[in-house]
């Protein structure tokens, strides 16, 4: 009886091995001369991942590319280097990574193997100055705008217009997200400017010291420390870190202006005037922005160069979709690939991307323009 059991287990092991073998063999597919590009995302799930994959799937045929995905760690450089190495080892000619982590070490590997690296939705804050002249680094496209000033001002204007008087301020620690300081400063400056001219009753109170979240949900004592707030400017990802605390403490009457987006109905059904109306602003970056590093890498691989190629690697802003009211939300639901996860909703078609390649006559200016013309008005115009 025991012996049979052992045999069964051995057989099972062999079977598992064999199955995985077969599965793997299936994975290989037609190789041809497709160019292999590795994509390292710091999330392994979620709408951004789905949309990125959908976009790359949609354009892979036209560009004759094949994409391999790995998940990066947000905190562990060694793990990220291993992931990058494995991409190189599996034959990738280029890599697009969303984390600026161990970048210098990874670039050394790239130099050894002749692989190109590009950044995606990341400003490469820590390493950019050191790597921008590295021939294997093609530049990065930022998650929205590099500077936070503009958005801070925009939110301040909305708040002034919509008449909220007591504003809570929440952000991530500045060691991790330095640009949220700019939003903070810009917001406060704008409000102060308004307060100078406003009647006493209309003056806006802003939380004196911005609360920093250590990547943990807001704690309930926030409400006892700031009892009277009627709106929160959440510079950090408020969907995951602020909203849960609001619902749990029945504070959804507080309006939330925050970065980030969710395709989840629990968020969207409470946006603007619908549901509890807690969410007033959501912002996300378009996954199509990956076109920038991708095109730059493909140019390098092709051995082509833009006529107006910049002398050093660039940090390019991308346009963001700001959702400020229900109509805009409906537009997003209808037309944005980020929400639908369907390639047909993409800003750029496969041939659009292909046309941007240097060998097809594209220019750097076109490329930058392409990733910067994907804002709300562009979506509405689509």
């Amino acid at each position: 009886m025991k012996k049979t059991l052992k045999k069964i287990i051995s057989l099972a092991l062999v079977a598992v091995m064999a199955c995985s073998c077969a599965a793997l063999a299936g994975c290989d597919g037609g190789k041809g001369e497709k160019v292999k590009i590795g994509i390292g995302l710091y999330q392994d799930q979620g709408p951004a991942v789905t949309a990125t994959r959908a976009f790359l799937d949609g354009i892979s045929e036209e560009l004759n590319c094949e994409f391999t995905y790995v998940t990066l760690s947000q905190t562990d450089e060694a793990a990220n280097k291993t992931a990058a190495q494995q991409l190189i080892s599996s034959g990738c000619k280029g890599m697009i990574l969303t984390m600026d982590s161990a970048t210098e070490a990874i670039l050394q590997e790239c130099e050894k193997a002749g692989v190109y690296l590009g950044g995606y939705l990341s400003d490469y804050e820590t390493s950019f100055d050191k790597v921008k002249n590295n021939p294997n680094f093609v530049g990065t496209v930022v998650d929205g705008r590099y500077s936070g000033t503009q958005w801070g001002e925009e939110i301040a204007e909305r708040i002034i217009n919509e008449g909220y008087k007591n504003i809570g301020m929440i952000k991530f620690p500045s060691f991790a997200f330095p640009h949220q300081n700019e939003m903070d400063t810009a917001f406060r400056a704008k409000i102060e400017e308004y307060n100078k001219t406003a009647a006493d009753a209309d003056k806006i109170t802003v939380q004196a010291e911005t609360t920093e979240l250590m990547f943990q949900p807001l704690s309930a004592d926030y409400f006892s420390a700031n009892p009277d707030i009627d709106a929160i400017y959440g510079m950090c990802a408020g969907v995951d870190f602020i909203y849960p605390t609001l619902t749990q403490n029945n504070k959804t009457n507080i309006k939330l202006y925050t970065a980030g987006f969710s395709v989840d109905d629990s968020v969207l059904s409470n946006f603007g005037t619908s549901g509890n109306g807690c969410f007033q602003e959501l912002v996300f970056s378009n996954v199509e922005a990956i076109t920038y590093p991708l095109v730059m890498i493909l140019n390098k691989i092709d051995g082509e160069e833009f006529s107006d190629n910049p002398s050093e690697a660039q940090r390019v802003d991308s346009s963001q979709i700001r959702i400020t009211n229900n109509e805009e939300l409906d537009t997003v639901k209808e037309k944005s690939m980020y929400y639908t996860g369907k390639f047909e909703n993409s800003f750029l078609s496969a041939s659009d991307v292909s046309a941007l390649l240097a060998k097809n006559g594209g220019t750097h200016e076109d490329l930058v323009k392409a990733v910067q013309s994907m804002a709300m008005e562009d979506l509405e115009a689509k």
């Binding site: 799930q45 420390a225 619902t247």
Partner: protein, 328 residues
């Protein structure tokens, strides 16, 4: 009769000493530091919500502990249960009762699978449950498009809030107490954990007991999943990351086991959980919540408490000679 009342009074006092003491200490510290929002209904509600969750999970961990096993898979079972039950309920448009039912059902099924693997594979329990943990974590990537779970803002997440949170809490405590004190398998489990070989020789069917115990753990884990899923956004897990759930909820178990000696173990754990949450909330108010300082204080407290309770035992032995006989 009055004597009995007096003992009950004494036991209650001893049991409550920990959270009350913790409250006073934190209150004093916050007051001295000029933080005046510590004593507020919001904080109290936070203590109760978090404390209830901690209690339920700690009970599930402790039930296996009490039966002589260190089950590594508790965290993974809970996460997977929450993801499955939550998503199914949501997709089916079910209500919070359906969520409750599904959580318990899925928790029981997963625990049953674990127990079957353990009792028939006869692999040492830690190693076996580590393997099971890896499998359950991997499954979180395979189901529901690896979305994890995010239902905190729906009505089905009702059990995550005061006062409804007390319903799963009370069920968990009752199930725990009922199983370990009043049922045949609970008694058998006690015999097995204290003297495994002897109990097997006497003729207690160990496999059956292990499976029953896991089924009960499954109920409690299911309730834990219900509350956890109602309070947290859950993302898929990998590489034993769920062990951090285990390690962070094990401290109340350690403390509760000691406090429980004054009364009943389950009550000790509940009281320890509340006490720890008072500490956490106090630290939050002081502005050191969630950061490195809190972790360090937490670690210091755990070691200090454990060391104290260890010495307590030795002190007690000094006055009770009886143990001497047993060592020879």
């Amino acid at each position: 009769m009055t004597k009995k009342l007096l003992t009950i009074f004494k036991k209650t006092l001893l049991t409550l000493a920990f959270p009350v003491g913790m409250f006073l200490v934190m209150w004093l510290i916050t007051a001295v530091s000029g933080v005046n929002n510590f004593v507020s209904p919001i904080i109290m509600r936070q203590v109760l919500t978090n404390g209830s969750l901690t209690t339920i999970i700690a009970l599930a961990i402790y039930l296996q502990f009490k039966n002589g096993r260190f089950d590594f898979s508790g965290g993974a079972t809970m996460i997977l249960t929450a993801i499955i039950a939550g998503n199914v309920t949501y997709n089916a448009g079910g209500n919070f009762l359906m969520f409750l039912g599904l959580c318990v059902a899925v928790g029981v099924i997963l625990s049953f699978i674990t127990s079957i693997i353990y009792s028939f594979s006869r692999v040492p329990v830690i190693i076996c449950t580590i393997a099971v943990t890896l499998v359950y974590e991997a499954i979180t990537y395979l189901i529901f498009d690896a979305k994890g779970l995010n239902i905190i803002s729906y009505d089905i997440a009702m059990f995550g809030k005061v006062p409804f949170i007390f319903i799963p809490l009370v069920i968990a405590v009752i199930v725990f107490l009922f199983y370990s004190n009043f049922t045949v398998e609970g008694k058998r489990g006690k015999l097995l954990s204290m003297g495994q070989r002897s109990a097997v020789n006497i003729g207690i069917a160990e496999n059956k007991n292990v499976i029953t115990c896991y089924l009960v753990t499954g109920i409690i884990l299911g309730l834990g999943a219900l509350v956890y899923g109602s309070q947290n956004i859950i993302s898929p897990q990998s590489n034993l990351s769920t062990s951090s759930i285990l390690f962070s909820y094990i401290v109340p178990v350690f403390i509760g086991m000691f406090l429980g000696r004054a009364s009943v173990d389950a009550v000790g754990i509940a009281v320890a959980s509340i006490g720890m949450e008072i500490m956490n909330s106090g630290l939050d108010c002081l502005g050191v919540g969630g950061g490195g300082v809190q972790q360090i204080i937490f670690g210091m407290f755990m070691l200090g408490f454990y060391a104290f309770s260890g010495q307590f035992e030795k002190l007690k032995n000094l006055f009770m000679r009886k143990t001497l006989k047993n060592t020879i």
